[in-house]
């Protein structure tokens, strides 16, 4: 299974196809405090990345996949920052990771 929960961290491992978007979403909705690690992750389907962007969750680890590492994760971090700036108010409060950025 490419989406694995370990303690408070959701691990994305190997290639994550479109089907992984749903379990990932479920795990993040259940506990918004969870962090996500992409250490060891391969190619992430757009639907999976979209969930991460929508959740505004903090993503740790360095994917081995060149395209993901160089572009997607960078874009994701930047996108999250932009999102939290835009959201302000209630959303920001729900994401404990934001204040550290």
């Amino acid at each position: 299974m490419s989406v694995r929960l370990d303690g408070t961290t959701v691990h994305l491992e190997g290639d994550c196809p479109v089907e992984d978007a749903e379990p990932l979403l479920a795990l993040l909705l259940a506990d918004p405090a969870r962090a996500v690690s992409v250490e060891g992750a391969g190619r992430l389907h757009g639907a999976v990345v979209q969930v991460l962007l929508a959740a505004g969750v903090r993503v740790s680890g360095s994917s081995a996949h060149p395209f993901q590492r160089a572009h997607v994760l960078t874009a994701l971090v930047a996108g999250n920052e932009a999102g939290s700036r835009e959201a302000g108010g209630s959303d920001a409060a729900d994401r404990p990771g934001n204040s550290e950025r």
Partner: protein, 644 residues
């Protein structure tokens, strides 16, 4: 404010014209030169942008047509045909004329629209169509592109050519598409951003299988390669070219395609700098007598002063070279208008000519470069008007219909030599002699005694003109004497050679350096004088028995030529002295070598020669004065005047 803009445009627009002409000139030689086509395209494109600021719509249309022609050529790699190149040259020439009109009148003269139509510039309707589309597209592009560029890091923007904005269809996941996989295939991706699209739901209501992403990015690859990555979803992507849009207008105008950093400096500042250097040189020279005086008092001190002086002179020399170098400009800058003017003059006279420029990359002092334009223009007018025969006569003589004018610039020692050669009818010495006699300039016997070379030089005499009919071009009475005066103002000279039926060649020889003059110090009698090094062909020491009487004077055989010898001391009103070893200074007089016997040679110095003034003004054979290190004044001789 408007005046400043216009002034700037006049300078930079003309730079762009020159650039375009340069590239088109290369293409005349080889129609398929990708670098030249690209260069011409960029210059025309930038020029089109510049003229758009002013009320020059006909120019815009003409340049747009030219730009299209060049763009097609550079994309297809097919090269340009001769008619196409001729059309481009005509477009650039006309734009140059319109720039002149803007300068003279602040607006284009009536009839510009008709001229534009004739040059392929289309009618107003066509122009409006052509202009409207890109503008509409441009507006829509501008907003997302601007924001994207603002967002990405500077090094990501580096080298980026294409920007894209990809809005995947919301149902793309169901179709098995992965937008990120598509973007992964974009070649040379420089930057990527993920944006929340319109209608982005709250996380709590998130549907994982609908796509709400907007993906923007920059690529360093070309537009075709980038389009290729999105070929399956073409209607979901917008593209923009990064290069053209991102550069602010002022930068585009200024750089004109060149990679070098260039500074515009007001000429007066350079002149003041040059004056300062001249005075530094004199000040450095003044340490010499101080060292001499110290020698008697304290040799160690004297040695110290001399060492310090040597160091100062070394550094001053370097500064002088740097300042000279700053004042150096490539002659191309002064000469670049000549080909177009030559074409216009020829066109006005019903003649076909080609002007070839060679060596225009050679640099000379700005004063010299500026001073060359007028005399060269006169020479050009003269060559086209009188030298090049009308097409029928050329055909009858077996010459190609197009007259060839070759303008060559070369460096010879301390001088710049500019040669204008034509393949026209040449100058007939007999006709010149006859005309001179006819004008009462000389008597028939005098005229007969002149050799051919001397006869040709008569054309430089004031008021001389053999033109049978006064044509529009030469009607203003511009004679060759004007050219000679200009050459002398630059402390140079002009020479002419010709062969009847084959052509004529004019040589303008001027010193390269305008700040300081290299002088040779010579002794004549008890006094020292300065002689300009560029007036000296050579110096020689010969045994006095090689000086033999010839007619009323003396001569010597040097390099297999019999050269007349005059005593400099005698010319200056003193006594000629004969020494065992005669010291000769060989110069040119009336086109032939002449030797001046001097009593001694001093050193060579770089000096600032001040024009004669005050009581010296009336003295004929003195060109100017210079201050020596010991405080003395050296008279600088004007050899031609002295000998003549």
């Amino acid at each position: 404010m408007m005046d400043e803009l216009l002034a700037q445009f006049l300078i930079e627009g003309r730079d762009l014209i020159a650039e375009a002409e340069g590239h088109l000139g290369l293409l005349a030689g080889s129609g398929n030169d990708p670098a030249a086509i690209d260069g011409a395209f960029r210059a025309v494109h930038t020029l089109k942008g510049s003229v758009a600021i002013f009320d020059m719509a006909p120019a815009e249309r003409v340049l747009h047509a030219a730009e299209d022609l060049l763009d097609t050529a550079r994309k297809s790699g097919a090269g340009l045909s001769s008619p196409a190149i001729a059309q481009l040259v005509a477009a650039v020439d006309q734009t140059a004329r319109w720039i002149d009109e803007m300068e003279a009148h602040g607006a284009l003269l009536p009839g510009a629209a008709e001229i534009a139509a004739g040059l392929g510039g289309g009618g107003a309707a066509a122009a409006a169509e052509v202009v409207a589309e890109p503008e509409a597209e441009a507006e829509a592009e501008a907003s997302w592109l601007g924001e994207l560029l603002a967002r990405v890091a500077a090094d990501a923007r580096d080298g980026a050519q294409v920007a894209f904005r990809y809005t995947p269809d919301p149902d793309c996941f169901f179709r098995g598409d992965d937008p990120l996989a598509i973007v992964e295939a974009v070649p040379e991706l420089a930057a990527l951003t993920l944006l929340r699209g319109e209608g982005w739901p709250d996380f709590a209501d998130w549907d994982p299988f609908r796509c709400h992403l907007v993906i923007e990015g920059l690529s360093r690859a070309g537009i075709d390669a980038v389009r290729g990555a999105f070929r399956l979803v073409p209607d979901q992507v917008a593209f923009a070219s990064v290069e053209a849009e991102a550069v602010p207008q002022s930068e585009t105008l200024g750089e004109a395609g060149a990679a070098s950093r260039v500074l515009r400096v007001e000429a007066g500042r350079l002149d003041r700098l040059a004056d300062g250097v001249g005075e530094l040189l004199v000040a450095a020279n003044s340490l010499t007598p101080l060292a001499e005086r110290a020698e008697a008092l304290d040799p160690a001190l004297a040695a110290g002063i001399r060492a310090a002086q040597a160091e100062v002179e070394r550094v001053v020399g370097e500064v002088h070279r740097s300042v000279s170098a700053v004042r150096q400009v490539p002659l191309a800058a002064s000469l670049r208008r000549l080909p177009r003017m030559a074409r216009e003059i020829a066109g006005g006279l019903g003649k076909a000519i080609r002007l070839e420029l060679r060596g225009e990359t050679i640099e000379a002092d700005k004063e010299v470069a500026d001073g060359l334009f007028e005399p060269l223009l006169h020479l050009l007018r003269n060559a086209i008007d009188h030298g090049i025969e009308p097409p029928e006569l050329r055909a009858a003589a077996g010459k190609p219909a197009e007259g060839v004018l070759a303008l060559t610039v070369a460096r010879q020692g301390a001088s710049l030599v500019v040669t204008l050669r034509d393949d026209g009818r040449g100058i007939d010495p007999h006709a010149i002699r006859a005309a001179a006699v006819g004008k009462g300039m000389l008597g028939p016997q005098e005229a007969a005694q002149l050799d051919d070379a001397a006869a040709l030089r008569l054309i430089f005499a004031a008021g001389f003109s053999t033109a049978a009919a006064v044509t529009d071009v030469s009607g203003r009475g511009v004679g060759m004497d004007v050219v000679q005066a200009a050459a002398e103002r630059m402390r140079g000279r002009i020479e002419v050679e010709s062969q009847v039926g084959a052509g004529t060649s004019f040589r303008l020889v001027v010193p390269l350096d305008a700040i300081t003059t290299r002088l040779l110090v010579v002794q004549a009698g008890a006094d020292r004088y300065g002689v300009r090094l560029d007036q000296i062909a050579e110096t020689a020491r010969v045994a006095s028995d090689r000086l033999v009487p010839l007619g009323l004077g003396t001569a010597c055989v040097l390099r297999d030529r019999t050269v007349p010898v005059l005593s400099l001391a005698a010319l200056l009103g003193g006594e000629a002295r004969r020494q065992a070893v005669a010291r000769l200074l060989v110069t040119q007089a009336a086109g032939a070598p002449l030797a001046l016997e001097v009593d001694g040679f001093g050193g060579r110095i770089d000096a600032v020669v001040r024009a004669k003034s005050g009581i010296l003004a009336g003295v004929r054979h003195v060109a100017g004065t210079t201050l020596l290190g010991d405080g003395g004044v050296l008279l600088v001789l004007d050899l031609p005047e002295l000998i003549g």
